[in-house]
């Protein structure tokens, strides 16, 4: 199985090298692709020094577009499995093999690493808990499935999912919407327990106002999207 690990990065010079090293030691047979979303620090240089595959966006296009560029590359280069790992070091690479296993066994098309399935020491704040509850309910309403960590960006997917995501993937805050569009396409997803580190470097990308925008945007997009005919 040809496997590609996609790391979307925007100014992750403090953490990127560690992430790449971790992936190589736990999933040595996989290729690593860094999609650099217009970083203004030395992130791009670090990726080139580490001799991973590198794609450079000409300007900052957002996390969704960045992942989609990676999906397009994976699809066109004939990869069977693509894995998304954040560049900030919050995803533990030792979970990579168990993230891929359900795909290899053919149980599902999309695997989500959930930090809430086990009691794995992820310190959560009250606003984050509220947000997670909100998105869990949203996913439950639109799919009837209970997903504990719908915003998790630690995911592995097969080619069927890649085909969908390279066709349509939201440009910002894509995770929850992508889950629902995968469900609507008849794809199966499954969660596995992982632990995540709190951020090692940089600042979290989500403040109060953007959290509100996140919830409103995703709700709007999913509600209106449910009136669209499925292609």
């Amino acid at each position: 199985m040809k496997t590609l690990v996609i790391i979307p990065v925007f100014n992750e010079e403090e953490t990127l090298r560690g992430v790449i090293v971790g992936i190589r030691s736990y999933l040595s047979q996989a290729d690593v692709l860094v999609v650099n979303d217009g970083s203004t620090d030395s992130t791009g240089n670090i990726a080139r020094e580490e001799e991973v595959l590198v794609l450079e966006h000409p300007y900052n296009m957002g996390i969704g577009a960045t992942m989609q560029t990676g999906f397009l590359y994976a699809l066109r280069s004939g990869y069977d499995i693509a894995i998304q790992v954040d560049g900030d070091g919050q995803h533990h690479p030792e979970f990579l093999p168990s993230l891929v296993r359900p795909l290899l066994e053919g149980h599902c098309d999309l695997v989500i690493g959930s930090r809430y399935l086990s009691d794995g020491g992820f310190k959560s704040t009250l606003p984050r808990k509220l947000g997670i509850t909100f998105f869990r309910s949203l996913v439950w309403i639109f799919t009837g499935k209970r997903v504990t960590d719908p915003t998790s960006g630690f995911r592995a997917m097969d080619r069927k999912t890649l085909e969908l995501f390279s066709e349509e993937y939201p440009t910002d805050y894509p995770e929850v919407e992508a889950l629902i569009s995968a469900y609507n396409k008849g794809l199966h997803f499954q969660e596995i327990p992982v632990t995540m580190r709190n951020r090692q470097g940089g600042a979290s990308s989500i403040g109060i106002l953007s959290a509100l925008y996140y919830m409103v945007k995703v709700t709007l997009s999913i509600s209106i999207g449910s009136f669209r005919r499925v292609k």
Partner: protein, 121 residues
């Protein structure tokens, strides 16, 4: 409406039409987006020549004074134009994203090809 105001409105409408035509001539405005503006200019011109049309419309719809009707339709028209522009912007940003992604992937392919040319196996 006094004759002076009437004349002023006619001249204004003609200037608007001329500006639109000049923008099209210089290719600052594409024909497909210019149609709505040409129609706007023409309607302005018609209304300033035949002010009685505005009076009749305003009477028919029950506006207390014709200028209210003018303002109402003006604002409505602007809202529609801005909405149309938002649609165009959205479409452009989607196309722009796809274009950028294709460029990124092409650059990667070119770089890979160059590398394989420089070091034939």
């Amino acid at each position: 409406m006094g004759i002076r105001l009437n004349l002023f409105a006619i001249i204004g409408s003609i200037i608007l039409l001329l500006v639109i035509l000049e923008l099209i001539r210089r290719r600052y405005l594409q024909e497909r987006y210019s149609l709505v503006w040409i129609i706007t200019g023409a309607v302005f011109l018609l209304l300033s020549i035949r002010v009685d049309i505005l009076y009749r419309i305003s009477n028919f719809l029950g506006f207390s004074i014709p200028s209210n009707a003018l303002f109402f339709f003006g604002v409505l028209f602007l809202i529609l134009i801005v909405l149309g522009l938002s649609v165009i912007t959205s479409r452009l940003s989607v196309k722009n994203k796809i274009l950028a992604q294709e460029v990124v992937l092409l650059k990667k392919r070119v770089a890979d090809l160059e590398k394989s040319l420089r070091s034939p196996e």
